[in-house]
Assembly symmetry: C2
Amino acid sequence: MALFSGLSAFPITPMTPEGGVIVPDLQRLVRRIEAGGADSIGLLGSTGTYMFLSRDERRRAVAAAVEAAASIPVMVGVGALRTDEAEAVARDAAAEGAAGLLLAPVSYNPLTEEEVFQHFVAVAMASDLPLCIYSNPGTTNFTFSPEFVARLTAIPAVAAIKLPLPSSRDMAADLAAFRQAAPGLSVGYSGDWGCKEALLAGADCWYSVAAGLFSEPVAALAAAAMRGDRAVAERCDADFAGLWDLFRAHGGLRVMYAAANMLGLTEAQPPRPLLPLMEDVKRRLASALPAGAADV
Amino acid sequence: MALFSGLSAFPITPMTPEGGVIVPDLQRLVRRIEAGGADSIGLLGSTGTYMFLSRDERRRAVAAAVEAAASIPVMVGVGALRTDEAEAVARDAAAEGAAGLLLAPVSYNPLTEEEVFQHFVAVAMASDLPLCIYSNPGTTNFTFSPEFVARLTAIPAVAAIKLPLPSSRDMAADLAAFRQAAPGLSVGYSGDWGCKEALLAGADCWYSVAAGLFSEPVAALAAAAMRGDRAVAERCDADFAGLWDLFRAHGGLRVMYAAANMLGLTEAQPPRPLLPLMEDVKRRLASALPAGAADV
């Protein structure tokens, strides 16, 4: 299935300043992603600001996205600070038609491996859906070792992992470590600027922020990388160089809000305390958008 | 006033598995802290699991603690992922009789300095209470530089900062850097195992986890350190060596729940995904409790 393979696109979740999902804008983004050729939607990921939404609004977002996505599966982020809350949003997501779940060990206090394991067991048991481990040490302060991931695969629902770009070894070595520890697990990456290399190295999935708005050119890049065509992949990737620079400097989330505003897709702003990009950065963004972005 | 000076004790917030505050247990802890000689209560700090409680339960905890604390001020943690939520809990805390607020830049996405500044302005304006900056980079991934703290002192409510133990310079140098950048600001520390040195170096306040249960012996240690009596302070501190080791290995929060259970003060357990200490660690804890702990 296409749920944990190919290109998974992570849209922002347009909301009012009070935290209410703006359903027409979210559905517009979902339809645009699907039209561009992504293989799945990654709803309510970090870029989808899941931790800024109430349980009710998270459920509304799932219902809206599932309704708008005609033929591609919707994976839903179900991280929460309390285990019972994560179980509840997992049940809600299943009830609204999600095809899979994405679970980060969100924490305030740094968690132990045993705590993360028991948390994953509990959330996995809350529904029948397959589950993708969301490794995001930059926000959770928890690092998934290949050995611990192997332990997590004892949970039948665990079908995939979404990894950050490796910082202390090269992509091929990182991928090999997880492949060896957890055979059969779908291994994918986020960090858009490094995902061309991840797919060229044989990763199963690119969990992409940029594809949340630019799924057509990102899908072309992903397709080239997945068929091993480095020359075409690098040509496609070069078109995103300016965007990747802005992602690294300002965070993909802030950049994607500004881009969505520029393209007239939503007037929503990032939830406070997050602030919109400064005007000078917006000007740089305007000239860094991938070619033909506005037409997709 | 004693709000941001001397010994501030941070109790756990006993709650049911469903997240409801157990008011009699919380009030028992508050009375015990006050009887032991602490100068203030640090309610709903990290040890008080503020991020695991709903807005309504946070308000109930404040009301209960203020009612129980006969003569010492109650400072209340008001961190939240959304700025509007932090403003709301700040208003609630003020309405229930809090004497001051403690604000960490809680985040999912790492925040910029401008985002943290605007967040602090908003929360400061939500009440008339003095505000303590809560620097906790281990959970928030945000580091307060002395220069940025100086900028924050332009907000009239900002009266104090609660710092982690310095990792890259000695205590005297760290304290001097903040004293120089922000004259008049109360500068205090947390990280119980290093706070004897902080007070000996002239810090204004010890924000203490251990004092949430053992305020009498911690107050004796704090008093010795504040009057510069290193010999007595070191003798008092030695009595806590086993506890400090357990704090560093397992986190003060998990240790304090187990200790409160052992002392018969509450049967509450840490909120999931946090797990109770393993049995072997509990046995080590039993022999590491400070002398006379059960009598206080």
